[in-house]
Amino acid sequence: MQQDWIWGLLGGGLIGLGGALLLLGNGRIMGASGILGGLIARHSDRALQLERLIFVAAVIGVPFFLHHIVQIPVETTVTQNLPLLLTAGVLVGIGTRVANGCTSGHGVCGISRLSVRGITATVLYIGAGALTVSVMRHLFGALS
């Protein structure tokens, strides 16, 4: 679509506002993988767990609502290949824990405060992601 970049900027602005709200309100970094991983962490207090649970429910629930109830026509193509999805999910889980963060934590929250770790992580996972997509698409012909 021609206006993709406008929706990108608008959506990105919303993501940034969400991160700003969580930081200024609760003093927390809006890192999706960290919050998700925190759900199964031991030794954390109940209120924090509930806060994470509510956050994750909203992250999933709002797009679900916008897609299925409001029926905003945003194309979402997810592969029907269940083993592929599960493998990808596990790899993303391992990768984000090893890297201590993902696109929202290192990318949005880290780069915005000029964190050296955040910037390094972002450059590396974008590079690794690009390499992986190239290999999968052009060598194995998958993902297309």
Partner: protein, 82 residues
């Protein structure tokens, strides 16, 4: 109580932002990561759009405490873990 409302609003904005920008679509993210054919730069705009409010928030977070609960995270480490 308010901290849970903050979490719900923040998560909702995060989810809505991902959805409206097309980032819930794996094909668009892959389109960004594949520089070869029809490169899709949308992710750059999403990232730029998100960095502006977030950078302002870090500025506002200086020399004060969070409005509802908790404490601000420690400053970022100056080194990269091996």
């Amino acid at each position: 109580m308010i901290r849970f409302i903050v979490a719900a609003l923040s998560g909702g904005m995060f989810g809505a932002g991902l959805f409206l920008s097309g980032m819930t679509n794996p094909a668009k993210v892959q389109g960004f990561l594949d520089f070869s054919a029809a490169w899709d730069p949308t992710l750059i705009f999403v990232m730029s759009g998100a960095l502006v409010p977030m950078a302002l928030a870090w500025r506002l977070a200086q020399n004060r405490a969070p409005l509802v609960a908790g404490a601000f995270p420690a400053p970022p480490a100056a080194h990269v873990d091996p």
